[in-house]
Symmetry: C2
Subunit: 386 residues, 2 copies
């Protein structure tokens, strides 16, 4: 249902298993746990809105930093806002750019008032304040806006992490004050590095201010996976039960399963589209590297259990040929498959939660890996490198 403002409805919660919910926005709603495909520059790489609708995507993520630099906020605004600009009429979340400034800009300087940085595109110098980042996102017309945060790569000392978390909290307060439109939601971002005490403090300060949702930021920035999970779980546990929780930038199917168990409601990651462009495909029996010679005459679809456009119409042999021939169609067909996989995973997770079968689902999920499809076992085990 479209219209109205932002709301989150928690439909079911079982501790240690996960939560079922629904977010509503002026551009429609999305079931949670939800995965958001990433369209940083206003396009989920290689896919059109019709592709995303067909695979069951309900909400997308774009990036305010990228769109601010190119084509420029005023362009998007003048064309009628980001939804109209990119032809997507469903819910949109825009990330603020804190993480992108950290990761893309060789030169950036964080001060109490904001962050000064050189554009990764043309070297031009920009200064973004928390207020300006809210204004950019208001002009883009995002349904969900993210506050500007001070994000650091791992490792950071306790005192650095403390300062960054405090600055993020300070900016969050200013962001909230700058927000001028009721229909757009604003999420706070919990920082605090790998220090539980700082995370707890950051979360509590944001909760005191009151946001429409709470994101767990500053993870997956170089620390051990075990630490990521520990901090994410600890942070999720202190967030308010009735608000939506968003674990930023994660991750693999396994990460998502773990996040759901921690009580996270929203996820995003470039992995499915990035892997599509490097020939790594997600299947029910594990990862498949389409470049592998063993697929040269393989008449099977990528995943015999998958009903995506790619699997319904094309063989592994053809997909391998397209990829090796650098045909543009390869990237789109791979992206359709990978994102369909992610959205199927989310549907399956929601069904398992609804039927109280999360343990069983997870057992089956892991047991299918390494068997079922002998072709895949072993070779692509371990970390995904896309």
């Amino acid at each position: 249902m479209k219209g109205g403002g932002f709301s989150f409805q928690l439909l079911k919660e079982v501790k240690g298993k996960g939560r079922l919910g629904r977010i509503s926005t002026p551009h429609g709603s999305s079931s949670t746990p939800a995965f958001m495909p990433v369209g940083s520059q206003g396009s989920v790489k290689s896919l059109a809105p019709a592709d995303l609708k067909e695979m069951g995507a309900e909400i997308l993520l774009c990036n305010a930093y990228h769109l601010y630099l190119r084509p420029g906020t005023e362009v998007v605004k003048e064309v009628g806002g980001l939804h109209r600009f990119m032809g997507w009429d469903g819910p949109l979340l825009t990330d603020s750019g804190g993480f992108q400034i950290l990761s893309l800009c060789a030169l950036h300087d964080v001060g109490p008032d904001g962050v000064r940085f050189r554009s990764h595109l043309d070297g031009s110098v920009h200064f973004l304040t928390p207020e300006k980042v809210v204004r950019i996102q208001e002009e883009l017309g995002a349904d969900i806006m993210m506050v500007l945060d001070d994000c650091h790569p791992y490792p950071v000392s306790y005192s650095e992490a403390k300062a960054a978390a405090e600055l993020t909290t300070h900016w969050a307060k200013r962001s909230k004050g700058a927000k001028s439109r009721n229909e757009q939601a604003l999420f706070g971002i919990v920082q605090g590095g790998i220090y539980p005490e700082l995370r707890r403090q950051s979360a509590h300060q944001l909760m005191m201010m009151g946001f429409d949702g709470y994101a767990i930021g500053g993870l997956s920035v170089g620390e051990e996976k075990e630490v990521t999970f520990e901090i994410a779980e600890m942070t999720a546990s202190v967030l308010p039960k009735d608000s939506v929780r968003y674990l930023m930038g994660m991750g693999t199917p396994e990460d998502i399963l773990a996040g759901v168990r921690m009580g996270v409601d929203m996820f995003d990651c470039v992995l499915p589209t990035r892997c599509a462009r490097t020939g790594i495909l997600f299947t029910s029996s594990g990862k498949l590297n389409i470049k592998n010679a063993r697929y040269s005459k393989d008449k099977n679809p990528l995943d015999p259990h998958c009903r995506c456009y790619t699997c319904r119409n094309f063989t592994r042999a053809y997909l391998r040929h397209l990829f090796l021939s650098r045909e543009l169609l390869a990237y789109r067909l791979n992206a359709i498959h990978n994102l369909f996989y992610y959205h199927s995973l989310m549907r399956d997770i929601r069904q398992a939660l609804s039927q109280d079968k999360m343990d069983q689902f997870e057992r089956e999920f892991f047991s299918q890996r390494g068997r079922d499809n002998g072709a895949n076992s072993g070779e692509e085990g371990g970390e995904i490198v896309c």
Copy 2:
């Protein structure tokens, strides 16, 4: 209607205006005059079969040379033939590769028995005879096969052109002898450079042998456009009335209009897809360069008269942004538009022929260029460079 072999039905012919017809193949039929999108490597660049169906494509062209080298004929055969391989269930024509060997292989050596060349992919040496080229196309399962021809760049002397035309005729005879399947059609290719006498001779010799269709080859290889048209027209005029005529590798919308008037039934060209990748879009009022700054905030579709997926959903501002951001979606949306434009043009031409309004159609076609859309007038006049 599917099933049966190849046939061509001439439905209407008005000298100097054009011909209406229909080709039938084991994989369905196509109205003529027809434009064939080019999918050299088994994929029309950036487009899926569903895209091609939606825009009204009825027949595609692939390239035996490319597919022979990669993924290899045996791969396509083992997966079930080219239709199954690329997921296209309509008519397919495969070009033989004569032109590709000329244009892509720095080292090639034409002898009486065939052509020896180094692969443009890996430098491996191959020898293709007319018989082998027919066998490759039979294994690919093309509905329409082309004979191997000896194609030369402009200029060639009379004696060189004569030798090439005679060799092509000799190979055509051997190709016909090698053909082992009734349901696949084989077209002869008229050569003879820019020499009317040689063209006439080449055409007559092929007609004596009898082919399922006749192609006009060896044009648009560097000669003046005026000469191209003169030779194409002269050649078309001596071809049998009841057989289908195919003008190879041409061309622009203007080329197609001229070809139709000469009595040509089939066309192919990489132009619409190649231009899509360089940001040149075809519209009813002329060409549009989407990179142009004047489109940065333009809320209009590429062509207000167009009903393609791209024009129904996206602004010029967004398409410019995608192109400048090198988003993969840019190439697909542009290709959808350009090929939709070509197929609309063919539909309009067929309708004009059917209603005896070819002159009126052509007047309107040209009068719309340079006016109607002030934004486009002038800037992209002249030759298309994609």
